[in-house]
Amino acid sequence: MKECFGWTGTVLLIDLTTKEVTLDHPDPAIYRKYIGGRGLAGHYLSPHATREWADPTLPILIFTGPLTGTLAPTSGRGTIMSRSPLTGAICDTSVGGRLATQLKYAGYDGLIITGKSDTPCGIEILDSEVQITPSNLHGATSNEVFTHLESSILTGASVACIGPAAENGSRLASIMVDRHHSAGRGGLGLIWAEKNLKYLMVKGTGETHVHDMDALKETREDIFRLTAASPVLMGQHGFSCWGTGSLFDLMDSRSMMPTDNFQKTRFPNAHQLNAAAYKKKFVSQKHGCSGCHILCKKIAQDGRPIPEYEAMAHFTALIGNHNIDLVLDANDVCNQLGMDPISVGSTLACHREITGQEYTQKSLMNALHKMAQGDDLGHGSFFFANTCGRSETSMSVKGMDLPAYDPRGAYGMALAYATSTRGGCHLRAYPLSHEVLRKPVATDRFSFSGKARIIKIAEDINAIVDSLTACRFTFLAASLEEYTKAFIAVTGVQISGQDLLETGERIYYNERIMNAANGFSASDDDLPARFFTEPGTSGGGVDIPPLDRTEFLAARANYYRVRKLDENGNPTPEITKRLGLDQ
């Protein structure tokens, strides 16, 4: 491409079967059409979206965005994407650390890995030098991989790797990045294992060229000002001070704490296991991704990460554990073995409900190790519950386990869970922002009124956020208005926020098309029956009845209308054509 502001104009392709390394230079129109990150990855995944996860030709895609590696706040993120071994749906995950920044500095907008190495290997990238290196790290934990590579790699390089869980076939396998960051959801680590790829190391010495640095600095100040004004981000109870664990007290006080496998929504011991308790006991320090000023990650004095909110909740309330040390241990073991703590917690809760067995420290740790060794539990609650003939105990959507936000306490969340293109996921539309966190303004969390269009617009916005790429937490303070200015400043491409939203619509619709090609339809856009038949925990003046099934289905039908899908939730030829997705 002629312009090299924001984007590098180059995508790196590596075939692990043939060891062939090639470069692709996408047409500038493709960049305009998909932006980067999740959008570009989806574009490249599309022709291969129906391949089975064990098919060597199924690509794993790692993409940066035009803002990656610039002064734009929280722009250090990237996307890892493929088809999920857990759900069969498309699966992308926004990943932090330094990975995307280093890939960009090495000169690449994205990396596409296909094929299968005949022996375990690592990929090492130093600018234009790309090596596929035999690895003797098979079976090593993530920390062992990081420690081993740290002694031999260049300062500032980024390392991503899988742990034993992936190598043993777990569909909950994650990809760990730079020791403390995880691409957790959907079992994408299993695809790495299937390709015999143990690790990826990237170091770049270049930079991201910016079209108008003054304009970028001005926008950066605007975003900083908005962030500073945000209680959720920079307030004394906000993510910067406490990590996302600061949600723990709030979710419990709002009767949204999934407890005993979503059979209750308040956790009596919450006050002993909240973010304040972790801070007092583990004396954490701030840590964050490249280019971030919020620094929401917290690291304990002994170097282990303090769990994110979802892991805090799922390793306590969801499974009946009151031991704070055990939460840290379980979270750390998940990281070491390379497993998604959300799905792991949910599967343990499902197991507890079916068997009636309470967890002890020993039994919980045993369960985690068994999951990583290829036990039935290691394939997630959907698989396990069905194996036991108790499918109703899997609290999942499209086979992906639900995170720690009870949908009976936030109806937009209920709709967002059901319609998410990657299954049980709170991040696609992130209705928590307005239903609980009051941003941009508060909405009635016990109503489906207006939620269909709200969810659709939010999905489009977040598709853009993941494509620019930026952290969606920033959007609890700033908006597309400010990030559009940043995009223009970086790339020089004159575009409006509304234009970017239309691109977000394209990116999301493309995911719907890929899912439809894999047989997903309205029956998959649904919640576990429990939420329509059992109440949550009422009290404190708040009533938590079961969701009204009729209202839910009406809201879902509204969503299909707003999203311009057919009545079965599938894409229509007219919209597919309008969005330029029919080529």
């Binding site: 004004a229 949600l247 006080s253 009051r438 508060a442 909405t443 009124s449 207006g450």
Partner: protein, 387 residues
């Protein structure tokens, strides 16, 4: 959606921001609904087809705001850029759209949150609720009011005032609402239980709005009881505080204040430094205008007064401090607490007024009203002195 459209149409009128029956508010889920029929809806409907929005707010402002906006728009090429906190932080600038067509409005709404259409009104929109449109509409009026009166005083002092401004100013002043001079009856403290605290906060919040001492982004209010600060939630409307107050233990044992006002840190620090039990924060317009008035022409910090002012400034004896919203390095959490702790009240440059009370909201409210009235009087005295 219809209920929300009706609610915010009513709110615009009751808060004196629009004339009765004037607001047009649309909301879209699967179906587009409006608060009332109007021929202009046909044009507005087109905006829903081209913008990813779920709500739209339009109205001609009530007087004197309509006159102010049209005047400022008449002297502005493309966008008004006031320097109050609302604009600096949230609006950035306010575009002017000179055509009453969907295509012209679309161009501006694609860039900014609210747009002035001279002679017609303000249009704004939201992605989750008509409340967003209401907030942006309200913020626009507040910012333009402050800009209009600030500029007038500065031009008068600098002897650059023209006849048109003088004439419009006279017309606007005639339409200003009379200041309140009587105080509301509020429950007496000190309060000893949570329920009484919450009820007293809700009562005082309603009075602050009813007296016009809060505009735009709603201010905040708190009360300290037994080591816990009860504070209004971020973005909450002070006249609707029921269910929107967060208990925040000062010992840091819980993070339930995650949704609390962005000024929680400042409130807490005031309580640590003093014996006050309650704080009220509003955005009374003349207090804000006077906070931005400074005759030090050659100050090296000019243009950055809101964060860098080092002068010991007061208006009618009330300290004026710099500081931005929230907890950043230039946040008002660093400047406000010592000022309030020492005098019981302080104005944040371009932002608003904070007042404190020892037992209940009576004294804090009295201070809030009295200071605003003093600032208003002081403003017009200065105008007279320069004429």
């Amino acid at each position: 959606m219809k209920r929300l459209c009706d609610k915010y149409a009513t709110k615009l009128v009751t808060q004196g921001l629009a004339a009765p029956n004037d607001p047009i508010i649309g909301g879209l889920d699967a179906e587009l609904v409006w608060n009332r029929p109007d021929p202009r809806i046909e044009e507005f409907t087109k905006l829903f087809d081209v913008l990813s929005i779920n709500s739209l707010v339009f109205s001609k402002p009530a007087e004197p705001y309509a006159t102010i906006l049209d005047f400022l728009a008449g002297r502005t090429k493309s966008a008004i850029r006031p320097e109050d906190t609302e604009t600096r932080t949230f609006l950035h600038d306010i575009p002017i759209c000179r055509e009453f067509t969907a295509s012209a409005m679309e161009v501006n709404l694609k860039k900014r949150k609210a747009v002035i259409i001279p002679g017609e009104g303000i249009i704004s929109c939201g992605t989750v609720s008509p409340e967003q449109g209401f907030v942006f509409y309200s913020s626009t009026i507040f910012a333009c009011f402050v800009l209009f009166f600030s500029d007038y005083l500065n031009k008068l002092r600098n002897k650059t005032l023209d006849d048109e401004y003088r004439e419009i100013f006279q017309r606007v002043v005639k339409n200003l609402p009379q200041p309140h001079t009587t105080l509301p009856q509020q429950v007496s403290g000190p309060f000893t239980d949570e329920d009484t605290v919450l009820a007293a906060m809700a009562e005082s919040g309603r009075h602050v709005v009813g007296y016009g001492l809060v505009d735009s982004f709603f201010g905040n209010i708190s009360y300290k009881l037994n080591g816990t600060v009860y504070i209004s939630q971020t973005g909450s409307s002070l006249e609707e505080l029921e269910g929107c107050i967060d208990p925040c233990p000062m010992d840091g044992s819980a993070t339930t204040g995650l949704t609390a006002s962005s000024e929680l840190s400042a409130h807490e620090d005031v309580y640590r430094r003093s014996n006050y039990r309650c704080i009220l924060h509003g955005h009374p317009k003349f207090s804000v205008i006077m906070s931005m008035y400074c005759d030090k022409q050659d100050c090296p910090n000019r243009g950055k007064c809101h964060i860098k002012c080092t002068e010991c400034r007061t208006v009618e004896g009330i300290p004026i401090v710099p500081g931005e919203v929230g907890t950043g390095p230039t946040g008002l959490c660093n400047t406000l607490p010592p000022a309030i702790a020492s005098s019981g009240s302080a104005i944040v440059h371009g932002h608003g007024l904070f007042t404190a009370g020892l037992n209940d909201f009576n004294k804090a409210f009295e201070r809030l009203l009295d200071i605003e009235n003093q600032c208003r009087k002081h403003y017009f005295n200065m105008v007279k002195s320069y004429e």
